[in-house]
Amino acid sequence: MLHVARLARLKLTEDEVETMTGDLSGILEHVDRISNLDLEGVEPTSHVVALENVWRADEPRPSLPPEVALASAPEPQDGAFRVPSPQADA
């Protein structure tokens, strides 16, 4: 559970871990019904509309100006998104 939480970039409280473990077991038990189906040779569907290679002309188009793109950022600085250091002790 904690490994998956780490992969998902979630920090769960002890209470959350407990409830989540129970909830997910129940859901997975239901979902497990499909794991025993014999689906050998069936093509997986990732997308329902038969489309391939949708092209468009490679032409420059106007895009959002930097100040608009940064307007909703929690901490914009000098035309960029400021983030904390990835190093814990930096």
């Binding site: 979630l10 959350e16 909830d23 859901i27 189906l37 689906l39 307007a71 929690p74």
Partner: protein, 480 residues
């Protein structure tokens, strides 16, 4: 004032076009009605003055309530989540732009389950929406605000999104029309992503004609969404009055599905209407449909876990834990910003996609998806439509299913297979039934599904059926 609020969208648009009704007066009447929202259906009301010029078009002068999952430039957009509190998108979703181009104007943004994950609207970070038919009950979800707004007389029409039933189920529980078009009929650009291979926009309206009007305005290919293709030939107002020569497939395993006696009664009465109108009933087999919920609750969370990775406190929305390192900031922001159900689905999806489990869960679910699509394809060689109840029950009580996520998920039993197959399906109000535990009569929806891009045919049949059923019950107003 009440008089003009009774008009359907088609009637109001015609009166405005003929200058018998002032667009300004009509919009203001709805703005006033929406401001009286006592269902928590709206999260935001449009603040800016509306330009009543340049409102020419088939929807000229029509106010529309928009689910808060659609980006609207300059108006807050939260997707029902704390993590997007205060967010004002720099652009507007294509579906909303198309409504605007047809002359409609946004009336407000409606409440929803957080990131469209839920079947009761109780997962909104901004409080649940109440069902106008019985305020102790849920309106369904995830587009519960849009459904309650139309049913409760707070908007003449609305739009929402449907990933596994999020338009059809709330429409059913609120006694209105809800249409999920074919995947690819309407652009998803600017629609906050939940499960990208399933998400589709659609209308909530009082009747089938209005649904056709809104679909006609919104459908079409959009260069901003390469999966959008539009509907060939467009959409016209339906006019068919009988069902002669049309075959309606009833799934043979439906008998075994658990649904309320009251829902069954209305469903069977509707089948009788189909026969009375000259339609033919036939049994069809959808053997893989029973695995729809299992496949859906792997595929949708898997896609969601990937889509929701973008909410990390960097580019928009809220940030928390900014005084730690980067990883701490990500984790604190996401843990405080997301609600329980969203975390649950991110965890489920991350697990299903994680190394060692991918084939058993995600791979297998995608194969079940193929099987379900094949089932429908085979059925549509024999019949024109597949029909089921929309929801196994009428509106349930607030809090009734929140403690058991699986029981909430099973609520999507009838709607999920069509989503996985990408085909269009509509819910029309078919009658009233008493809840299993007793209580006042509540609406029951009838679901009709059609082959991909057969929306016109679907609307024609729905229109004929709607005229015959003559559903005219309304919520009994405020009951405290």
């Amino acid at each position: 004032m009440a008089g003009i609020l009774e008009l359907t969208v088609a009637e109001a648009a015609a009166q405005i076009a003929a200058t018998e009704l002032s667009a300004e007066e009509y919009f203001d009447a709805w703005r006033e009605a929406a401001a009286g929202d006592d269902l928590n259906a709206y999260l935001f009301h449009v603040e800016h003055p509306v330009d009543h010029q340049a409102m020419d078009g088939p929807l000229g002068g029509i106010p529309v309530a928009v689910k808060d999952i659609f980006c609207t430039e300059g108006t807050p957009t939260t997707a029902g989540s704390r993590i997007l509190e205060g967010y004002r998108p720099p652009y507007t979703a294509t579906a909303v732009r198309r409504l605007d181009a047809a002359g409609a104007r946004v009336l407000g943004k409606t409440n929803m389950d957080e990131f469209a994950m839920g079947s009761s609207n109780e997962n909104s970070a901004y409080g649940p929406v109440l069902n106008p038919w019985d305020r102790g009950r849920v309106p369904g979800g995830s587009s519960g605000g849009s459904a309650a707004a139309v049913a409760g007389g707070l908007a003449p029409c609305a739009i929402g999104t449907d990933t596994g039933g999020s338009i059809r189920q709330p429409a059913s529980l609120c006694g209105i029309v809800g249409l999920k078009p074919t995947y690819g009929a309407i652009s998803r650009y600017g629609m906050i992503a939940f499960a990208s291979s399933l998400d589709q926009c659609g209308p909530f309206t009082r009747d089938v004609t209005d649904a056709a009007l809104l679909l006609a305005a919104m459908e079409g290919r959009d260069p901003c969404d390469s999966t959008s293709v539009g509907i060939e030939g467009g959409i016209l107002a339906p006019s068919r009055e009988d069902l002669g020569g049309l075959r309606f497939g009833v799934p043979s395993d439906l008998a075994g599905a658990g649904f309320d006696a009251g829902v069954r009664e209305v469903f069977e009465a509707t089948l009788k209407w189909i026969e009375d109108l000259g339609g033919e009933l036939a049994e069809v087999a959808l053997p893989s449909a029973e695995h729809g919920i299992s496949a859906y609750y792997v595929i949708a969370p898997a896609e969601a876990s990937s889509n929701l990775a973008r909410y990390d406190g960097v580019r928009y929305g809220v940030r928390a834990g900014g005084d730690g390192d980067l990883l701490q900031m990500y984790e604190t922001t996401r843990s405080q910003g997301f609600g329980t159900e969203v975390k649950r689905r991110i965890m489920l999806g991350t697990y299903a996609l994680s190394s060692g489990y991918y084939d058993a869960y995600y791979g297998q679910a995608q194969k079940v998806r193929t099987r379900i699509a094949e089932d429908f394809k085979a059925a549509f060689e024999k019949v024109d439509f597949v029909v089921t109840p929309t929801s196994p029950s009428v509106a349930f009580e607030l809090g009734e299913k929140t403690a058991d996520p699986l029981s909430m998920y099973l609520n999507d039993f009838f709607t999920v297979p069509m989503s996985l197959a990408g085909i269009p399906a509509i819910s029309i109000p078919a009658g009233l039934a008493e809840p299993e535990g007793g209580g006042r009569q509540l609406p029951v929806g009838f679901q009709i599904a059609a082959p991909a891009f057969a929306e016109q045919k679907l609307l024609e049949a729905s229109y004929a059926l709607e005229q015959a059923i003559g559903f005219d019950a309304k919520p009994v107003g405020s009951d405290g």
